[in-house]
Amino acid sequence: MAQPGQPDPAAAIEMAKQEMDYRVNLFNAMVSSCYEKCIDKRYKDGELSVGENSCIDRCSSKYWQVTGIVGQMLGAQGGMQ
């Protein structure tokens, strides 16, 4: 039972799960998007080129920034439902 002023453990677990779900989904979306944008699909071999590596780094950084901007805008509109 939740005590007044004490965090409800059931709610804490639920929030932790949701936070994790969010992070996993974010990671998977980042992997998928940057793969589409950076990787040469001719598959001449199994190695990532220098160009591809740089692209991946920059793509991850930009994707993260987009996440931040969208988060701010959604927050400004009165919180996520």
Binding site: F27, I39, D45, G46, E47, S60
Partner: protein, 103 residues
């Protein structure tokens, strides 16, 4: 330390175990999902003719390269994701400390 881990250790023992199990289940589910999506991706990118019921040498090599490349790509994004994540977390903590210091 990963802030999520730190928060987790504040929960009572029973809840910690529950959370660990939930994490494990999520990892298993995520591995299976990744496996399927990788198969689909490499099939889509490498296989486009059906004159035979067996993969030819080119297709086989393509699939191997595709899978290897994707795993390496995923690992690299994982590293960057971790870095961006910690950086964001420490920026937030710095901001919070500033706000508290200003009172």
């Amino acid at each position: 330390m990963d802030p999520n881990l730190a928060a987790m250790q504040n929960l009572p023992q029973a809840q910690q175990q529950q959370l660990m199990q939930a994490i494990e289940q999520m990892q298993v589910r995520d591995s299976l999902r990744m496996y399927n999506s990788l198969v689909e991706r490499c099939f889509r990118d490498c296989v486009s003719e059906f004159r035979s019921k067996d993969l030819n040498a080119g297709e086989e090599k393509c699939v191997q390269s595709c899978a290897t490349k994707f795993m390496k790509h995923s690992a690299r994004v994982g590293i960057r994701f971790g870095e961006l994540s910690s950086e964001a977390e420490s920026q937030m903590q710095a901001m919070m400390q500033q706000q508290q210091g200003g009172k």
